[in-house]
Subunit: 193 residues, 2 copies
DNA sequence: AAAAACACTTAACATAGGATAAGTTTCCAG
DNA sequence: CTGGAAACTTATCCTATGTTAAGTGTTTTT
């Protein structure tokens, strides 16, 4: 059950057996059925979430009811609502399960205490965030520099293993286009080849 | 000279006088004239940069020579090329001065040693990054949910103090539109009021 | 002070992608 | 197994924004 998360952590820091024990003791397992919410915008959600199995999406709903997917989370990824976690304010985004999920949650207070007791975890989350930040920056420049079709191709290249697990509606939403546009793009590609 | 950066750090962690001394001793002051590069895409740039005075832009140039501004950096902000810093690979972005700048740089090795000697700095950069990450996420959702005009209005609201220091060309580039479009948006707004 | 480069505006035209609507296929829930 | 809801496709029309080009005003360079 803790294999994946411990491997994830071992990428950046090395834990003693006692530290490992301490760490796993604060993890709260939780499973989520497809379509169930982890967070609803407006809730305060002060937990970090590691995805052990399954997939989720982080999304926003605009005034006209349109959903926009900000990001996905697959097994081995971290997710949550960073803003709510940090500030204690209501979450900005919805997070829900796209497939049945097994999650490991860490409460804010316990994580704060962990940072104090084992400062290596400050380092772990710093490095995790640096990588997340780089990915976000790349996403912004892609959204600005590339056409819808180019973004779709890049998505296929970058996440070939996830494409089959996501509906086109969700991929379109992640790319910032309508499902109709994605359908059109796919047709043009087929006609050409 | 170190006032602003020490205040910046004091937002999240408290340093002893000895730690303060240790920290300031690794800072390398550097000034940059308007239009001078801090980083050119392709260079390896393994330094973190604090802006003490002036402003910079982080941008990318596409195949057709179009510049796209990923972000600005004003006094009190941190900047650089996180990807190059972390990976040691050539930088993805250009960073150059929009106004004459006074900067404080920290080399990668010295920062790594600082993390080891004073683990509080792991914490400081973790919190800094959490905030930067939240801002990035918000930028992505704004770019997806809002029209060019709405993004412009939000920019004016969010950064009223910076608007006057930036050319419209640069604001347009940051918003992901052409200067012509920004000009059109401004005209429509004037006509309406 | 003149020349050159740049910033900004305006206008006419082009186009990628949105909106709407209708049809087909796939997926569940009863 | 069946009926209704989603998911996906296709077509038509529409609009926001890009493109090109020309003109004016403002810096920067010489």
């Amino acid at each position: 059950m803790y294999d994946l998360i411990l491997k994830n952590i071992a990428r950046f820091i090395t834990l003693t057996p006692a530290e490992t024990e301490r760490f796993t003791s604060i993890l709260k397992p939780r499973s989520l059925r497809r379509r169930q919410y982890l967070v609803q915008a407006g809730d305060v959600f002060r937990q970090e979430c590691f995805v052990n199995k399954g997939s989720l999406r982080i999304y926003q709903v605009d005034d006209s009811g349109q959903e926009r997917i900000i990001n996905f989370a697959f097994e081995g990824w971290w997710t949550g609502d960073m803003y709510s976690f940090l500030s204690g304010q209501p979450a900005i985004y919805h997070v829900d399960a796209l497939e049945d999920c097994e999650l490991l949650l860490i409460g804010k207070e316990q994580l704060e205490q962990l940072y104090i007791d084992i400062p290596k975890f400050d380092r772990f989350y710093r490095i995790l965030l640096q990588n997340a930040y780089i990915a976000m920056q790349r996403r912004i420049s892609d959204n600005m520099m590339l056409s819808a079709e180019e973004r779709y191709l890049q998505f296929l290249e970058r996440y070939p293993q996830f494409e089959q697990r996501l509906s086109q509606k969700h991929i379109a939403s992640y790319l910032g286009i309508t499902p109709e546009s994605l359908s059109r793009i796919r047709r043009h590609r087929l006609n050409r080849s």
